[in-house]
Each structure stands twice: as structure tokens, then as C-alpha cells.
């Protein structure tokens, strides 16, 4: 909401106040804003980069904040957690885990079918590119030059051999000048 407000001010007013508003915008989208967005979540560690953000990843399995905000129900279970953990039921243990973390390792490492979308988009781009190149060939480009004709290319080859071009490793080295045949 406040970001929207700042954006609106950006467009409505003129230069003298612009710098201050830019600073505010930057502040609200960067650090203090992140802090605001994290709400009543408890900050429990440094996390990935010191910002109060939540992310499930193998590289940093312990994010800076707990996943859920504190509620009255949860406080009761947290009170119970202070005592012996054997007194907690399996459901309560799961509840506490899900309070701190969004997904388990098994869940965030689960293979998703996203590759289908990626392959699909790739093939679509290929198909569109091919269609465009076909259209270019038929509609846009001039016909090929007359030097592309078969007899003209033969004449060119004959001349290359007569001039003995590339006689050591190239084309003429493969031509026998005694028998006038390919070696």
C-alpha cells in the first residue's frame, strides 16, 4: 500500500521533492520494507543474507524468520515445548515444525513437472523461428545468383584445377595432371 502511495506521489509532484520520495521508495522496497512484510514473525537467525526473509533451500536450511506468525493456539504448544518433549504428541511436533518451516526437505526437493513447460516453450520458439526463416526464403530473398547454376560451378572447378590452386594440401593436390583424372 505504502509503495503504491509513494509511486503515485512520484508521478504527481515535481522535482524538488523527488529526491526525498525516491529515498522513501528505496527504503520501502528494500530493507525496512522487508522487515514490515515479515509481520509478527519471530526473527531467529541470520539466514541467507541477513534480511528477514523466508526461503527453503539446501544451502541455507535455517532461514532468518519463522514461517508463520505467532497465534494464541501456537503459544500454548510453545509453552508445552518448554517442558519434556516426550509429552508432546506427534501432531504437536508437526505443528511446531510447520510453524518454523514451510516445507520439509522431501517436499522442496521433490521433482516437479516444470521441465515440460520449459521444453514446450523451447520447441515453440524453434517452430516460430523456422517458420520465419521459411517465409524469408520464399517472400523476402531474391533468387540465388546465376553463378549457382550447375554448369557455371563446373566451369569454376575446372579453372581452379587449371590454375593449380592449393597444389600441396588443397584441391589441386588431389588432381593428377598426367592422366587428367582425380587421384
Amino acid at each position: 500500500m505504502s509503495i503504491m502511495r509513494a509511486l503515485c506521489w512520484q508521478f504527481e509532484r515535481k522535482l524538488p521533492h523527488q529526491m526525498a520520495r525516491m529515498a522513501m521508495l528505496r527504503r520501502e522496497t528494500h530493507h525496512d520494507g522487508t522487515r514490515l512484510m515479515s509481520g509478527d514473525r519471530e526473527i531467529v537467525g541470520y539466514g541467507v543474507n541477513g534480511s528477514p526473509i523466508y526461503v527453503d533451500c539446501v544451502e541455507f536450511p535455517f532461514p532468518a524468520i519463522r514461517y508463520r506468525e505467532v497465534t494464541a493456539d501456537l503459544c500454548a504448544v510453545r509453552e508445552k515445548e518448554l517442558g519434556d518433549w516426550k509429552a508432546l504428541s506427534l501432531q504437536e511436533k508437526k505443528l511446531l515444525y510447520r510453524h518454523s518451516f514451510c516445507q520439509t526437505y522431501a517436499e522442496f526437493q521433490h521433482f516437479t513437472p516444470d521441465w515440460k513447460l520449459v521444453m514446450g516453450v523451447g520447441f515453440w520458439s524453434l517452430a516460430i523461428g523456422l517458420l520465419i526463416s521459411v517465409w524469408y526464403n520464399f517472400k523476402l530473398y531474391d533468387p540465388v545468383p546465376e553463378t549457382y547454376a550447375e554448369e557455371r560451378r563446373q566451369a569454376q572447378l575446372r579453372r581452379i584445377i587449371q590454375l593449380e590452386m592449393n597444389p600441396i594440401t588443397g584441391l589441386s593436390s588431389k588432381w593428377c595432371y598426367h592422366t587428367n583424372k582425380w587421384k
Binding site: Y97, T104, A106
Partner: protein, 149 residues
């Protein structure tokens, strides 16, 4: 003239910032020794079992350990679990177990049962369920797409 000045300047520099060979040797010897595996285990055990450690430091230690190219030894895992007990955070303990299981990589079939066997007494003592007891070895919940929120 230039040669005399340069010579004097050179002498002056040699006197002030010149480093003698004995000093070089002393500095280089500082990072000569390599920590043995036992020392490493002991260091982290000590880190997790320090009196008055808080959740922030435990998380830092665990994040560091799980970022290294190693599987934490059962001793370290136990120390981590006890650390989580001391700050009364069972979620931390479960996540730590999961992280250690994940570190076994493609050797899960051989390494993980060994680790589990070693740390079972501690798990029983503290009342921490294993990942299998929680059913977290398989995906339990699906995430709602952000476009449907």
C-alpha cells in the same frame, strides 16, 4: 644526482618497510597446520554445547556445517540436538536431522542407518522423533501455487 637520490630513498625504504626473512617465516608458519577430523568434531561439539548458546548461534553453526563438503559425525549431530533442546526448539532439531540426512547424498542407504543407530539413544532421551516417524521422508503437503493465493 638522480642516482644518489634514488640510492638514499632505497636505503630509507629498506629501513622502514623492509621485511627481514625471519619475519616472513614467522608469519607463514601461522597457517601451516591443518585441523584434524577429530579436532574439527571437538570444535563443533564444543560450539554446540557451550553454556548460554542461543538459537541464532546454533542456526549459524548448523547452516555452516550443512554448507560444508562433509557429513557431520554422530557426535556433532548429538551436540546439535542437545543445543536445540537447550533453546527449546524442537523444529530446529527435526530440521537439523533432515539436513544431516540430506548431507549423506547418494550414500543414504549406507550412511544414514549408521548415523541413526549412533544417535538413537539421544533421540530417545530427548523425545525427538525420527524423520520416518514424522513421515517426512516422503513429501507430505503440496504447496499452493502463488498464482492461486
Amino acid at each position: 644526482m638522480l642516482r644518489i637520490t634514488a640510492g638514499k630513498l632505497g636505503n630509507a625504504i629498506r629501513g622502514t618497510i623492509g621485511v627481514t626473512s625471519s619475519r616472513v617465516a614467522a608469519v607463514r608458519a601461522l597457517h601451516g597446520s591443518e585441523e584434524s577430523a577429530e579436532d574439527f568434531d571437538k570444535r563443533y561439539e564444543k560450539y554446540f554445547s557451550r553454556e548460554g548458546i542461543d538459537g541464532w548461534e546454533i542456526r549459524k553453526g548448523m547452516n555452516d556445517l550443512l554448507g560444508m563438503d562433509l557429513v557431520p559425525s554422530p557426535k556433532i549431530i548429538e551436540a546439535g540436538l542437545r543445543g536445540a533442546r537447550r533453546v527449546n526448539d524442537i523444529a530446529l532439531a527435526i530440521r537439523w536431522l533432515e539436513g544431516c540426512k540430506d548431507k549423506c547424498g547418494d550414500q543414504k542407504a549406507t550412511l544414514y542407518p549408521y548415523l541413526l543407530e549412533k544417535i538413537t539413544p539421544t533421540l530417545k532421551e530427548l523425545g525427538i522423533p525420527t524423520i520416518e516417524e514424522l513421515g517426512y521422508d516422503q513429501p507430505e503437503l503440496a504447496l499452493k501455487s502463488v498464482y492461486d493465493l
